[in-house]
Amino acid sequence: MLMPLDMLRAGEVAEVEEVSGQAAWIGRLAELGIRQGCRVRVVQAGSPCLLDVDGCKLCLRGGECSQILVRPVG
């Protein structure tokens, strides 16, 4: 089941299926490791939220999280 990233609760892990929005933003997220196929863990939900991507902590806003479609794992 696909859902926007901001629907996940703290502690949940998901695989990124699709990043939509402006090209510059997609590129920026890819540089930071959020791209199709990567795994993210939500450390803290809400806006801004805290994500763990490959052992690295990233902080994103809710509006931006809703542009990232993920598939929950486990």
């Binding site: 090209a23 510059a24 920026r28 806003r61």
Partner: protein, 756 residues
């Protein structure tokens, strides 16, 4: 053997340990390079290795070479040898974090495309080992096709091997090969290159195709017209049809390449251990506990700024006074002495007095940034700041501005987004700084104390501070909707691992900030101070052709000579009428110097301007005296207290003595005298007598909103590299102040009328 100087560019992600490596390599031989038209500063260092002199350029930390702004473009141009100031680097030194290789090698893969030799330094190898990550640098080197050196920059381990690798790479001068892109992409890139000709390097052509709306696209479309834009769009369309749309194609190609290299060289434990950073973050980024700790840290920071800076500031003030006295007693009176004492010594002093606060604040900021806490603070404050169109990173600069806008504006350097940074800079002077306090205390003491409940003065003071806290976000929001409009910057921020801050780096940041302020802002403040001095000094002869300074000196001498006699007469209980008359005369003589001074200031150019501009001040409820004091305080708002002292014949009042219980008695007496003199003077006037409170509020609101600080404007000029922004700040704040004061007086007088 190489004989010429080698140029090495140091590139890496933020938090890769770039600055630490830069310091480890170049030691103390550093300077800051500025580039025209942009706000970035790049540090340059020098060192010698194996008999070869090496110039090391430290580029700003970046996640990628996809330039989005002129600032980011400087780094790319510099790497390609397209900046006239620097030669093309002989070697590119790519520093990566061993605990986060996947991410950091993305930038390395872009560096390989530049065509220059690349050396990879794998930093924080010890931290990786502690997490159970093993990196086989030989295997990694074979996969990447460039030298890979493991280092620990903070302990200086591996630096020798690294410098040797740099020399070898420069000597071999071999162009590395980066990841392969799909054939369809290569075809489009070749076609686009043919369109542009040889003037644009292949690297930029590929960026043009990849970075939708990026800086390369803006720049080249502007130069080649819309035909090019059409061609790029068509090319991207074809790529989408071929199944490798931009920008996804780059991420896929590069990360596939990175993954292959990492798979061959890195072994990781299957479960990532919970690190110290994770444990600490559970508390520090917690919505409640984290916020409480953040508030405590901020409170501690501002307490220290006030407490630690106070003795230093007093010391600077003491030196300034002593220097002024020393020169006064060793020089004949005249314009030159006045210029040196009132213009130069007091002017320079009023600049240097900010130094302790600036350095302490920057010490704190450097410490918090170095240990990784700053990103957490920005995370916690983002929710609040996003409401006014800014991000969490604007919080600390704005809060610092409550102490003083000068260090606050300098602290905006941590904000990467240009529009956010400009909006923060422009609203920072609205925060109520410590220099406004004497004005508030003076006027509240004179008008809103007697006949009011004890809590009213405090409430008024609080309300005045709230003006800044309320107006600044509104202005920021308006700016972001109008002048600084643009796509909402995506807010993605990395929270780096916590690490122990390096004391030397913190000290260096403190001194750099202090020096930058003294040197560049100082010159402008200094010039402004001399200008106001001249406007208050000339003309310096009275209508009879006598010089004011000479008359004041005479009066002072006469007062001094009769001082003993005055004391004697004052102490006398049963004075005769004759003696009483003499006492009166002597008392009058004692005040003669201050009276003459006031007369002189009124006749000066600035004084006349105040009289001339009275119609402008009238709607605010002000007379020419208040107007002139406000005019004189445009270079530095605390000047108003001294100027009011001159105008109301009290003499030069020390603004520091207001509200300071430790000030000496004479200074306190004068300050109290000023409050009384202002009150008495206003009572005589029909408007200010009736609406005294409304006038006082109007003056305070004006001071709360007006940008009466040459230092602030000079720093804005310095930080934005443009006169437009300080001019804009000055104009909008003055207009806002006038409107605010107008409203306050008009509404205030209506209320007073209604109550009576």
């Amino acid at each position: 053997m190489l004989t010429k100087t080698l140029t090495v560019a140091l590139v890496g992600n933020p938090n890769a340990g770039k600055s630490t490596l830069f310091n480890a390599l170049s030691g103390l031989r550093q300077r800051v390079g500025n580039y025209p038209g942009v706000t970035v500063e790049m540090k340059k260092g020098q060192f010698t290795t194996g008999g070869v002199a090496v110039d090391l350029i430290d580029l700003p930390g970046t996640y990628s070479l996809a330039a989005r702004s002129p600032d980011e473009m400087v780094a790319v141009d510099l790497l390609l040898g397209r900046r006239p100031e620097e030669p093309r680097p002989d070697v590119v030194l790519s520093i990566v974090d061993a605990t986060n290789l996947d991410r950091h090698l993305y930038l390395t893969s872009q560096l390989l495309d530049l065509g220059e030799p690349v050396v990879v330094a794998v930093n924080m190898i010890d931290a990786a080992e502690a997490q159970g990550i093993k990196i086989d640098c030989t295997a990694l080197s074979a996969k990447l096709g460039v030298a890979v050196v493991p280092i620990q920059a903070n302990k200086g381990i591996g630096i020798d091997t690294l410098t040797r690798a740099l020399l070898d790479a420069a000597e071999a001068a071999k162009s590395p090969v980066g990841p392969t892109f799909p054939e369809a992409f290569e075809k489009e890139a070749v076609a686009l290159q043919a369109e542009l000709g040889g003037e644009v390097p292949g690297f930029l052509t590929r960026r043009l195709l990849l970075d939708v709306g990026g800086y390369v696209e803006q720049w080249l479309v502007e130069r080649h017209g819309h035909g090019l834009k059409q061609k790029i769009t068509e090319g991207r369309q074809r790529l989408t049809e071929a199944g490798c749309s931009v920008p996804g194609v780059e991420a896929r190609a590069r990360f596939a390449w990175v993954r292959a290299a990492v798979a061959a060289a890195v072994t990781r434990p299957s479960d990532r251990p919970v690190t110290f950073t994770d444990k600490l973050d559970r508390v520090l980024t917690h919505r409640v506990w984290g916020t409480l700790i953040f508030l405590a840290v901020m409170f501690l920071m501002f307490q220290s700024i006030f407490l630690w800076a106070k003795p230093l500031m007093d010391g600077i003030d003491g030196v300034r006074e002593a220097a002024a006295k020393g020169i006064e007693s060793n020089m004949d009176s005249g314009p030159l002495r006045s210029l040196i004492v009132d213009g130069v010594v007091k002017g320079v002093g009023s600049v240097l007095i900010f130094l302790p606060q600036i350095m302490i604040l920057f010490g704190f900021i450097a410490f918090l940034e170095d240990c990784g806490y700053m990103a957490r603070a920005a995370f916690l404050m983002d929710r609040l700041m996003s409401r006014c169109g800014l991000s969490g990173k604007s919080f600390i600069p704005l809060l610092s501005s409550v102490a003083c806008a000068v260090p606050g504006i300098m602290a905006t350097r941590v904000i990467e987004n240009r529009r956010d940074r400009l909006a923060t800079i422009v609203v920072a002077p609205l925060m109520s700084c410590s220099a406004r306090l004497p004005v508030y205390v003076l006027l509240i003491g004179a008008f809103i104390k007697e006949g009011y409940s004890t809590w009213v003065p405090g409430l008024v003071l609080f309300a005045l501070y709230m003006i800044g806290f309320v107006v600044a976000p509104i202005v920021a929001l308006l700016l972001k909707r109008t002048l600084l409009r643009g796509a909402t910057p995506v807010f993605v921020m990395e929270l780096p691992s916590y690490r122990r801050p390096k004391i030397r780096a913190v000290l260096r940041r403190m001194f750099d900030a202090g020096w930058a302020f003294t040197l560049r802002a100082g010159t402008i403040i200094f010039a402004a101070m001399i200008l106001v001095w001249a406007l208050l000094y000339f003309p310096h002869v009275d209508p009879n052709g006598n010089s004011y300074p000479a008359r004041i000196e005479e009066a002072e001498k006469a007062a001094k000579d009769s001082e003993d006699k005055l004391k004697e007469l004052k102490a006398k209980q049963d004075a005769t009428d004759e003696e009483k008359a003499e006492l009166e005369k002597l008392e009058e003589a004692a005040g003669e110097a201050d009276r003459l001074n006031g007369q002189w200031k009124r006749a000066s150019i600035l004084g006349r301007a105040g009289l001339y501009m009275e119609p402008v001040f009238r709607p605010l409820g002000w007379d020419w005296k208040i107007g002139m004091a406000a005019l004189a305080s445009f270079p530095a708002r605390e000047v108003i207290v001294g100027t009011l002292g001159l105008i109301y014949d009290i003499g030069d009042v020390d603004s520091g003595a207001i509200g300071d219980d430790e000030a000496d008695d004479e200074a306190k007496e004068k300050a109290a005298g000023l409050a009384k003199a202002v009150k008495d003077d206003w009572a005589k006037d029909p408007i200010r007598g009736k609406y005294g409170v409304a006038v006082a509020m109007s003056v305070m609101v004006f001071f709360a909103l007006c940008c009466q600080c040459a230092s602030t404007l000079a720093v804005i000029r310095r930080e934005t590299r443009s006169w437009a922004w300080p001019a804009f700040t000055f104009v909008y704040m003055t207009a806002l102040a006038y409107a605010g004061a107008f409203l306050t007086f008009q509404v205030g007088s209506l209320i007073i009328d209604a109550v009576r």
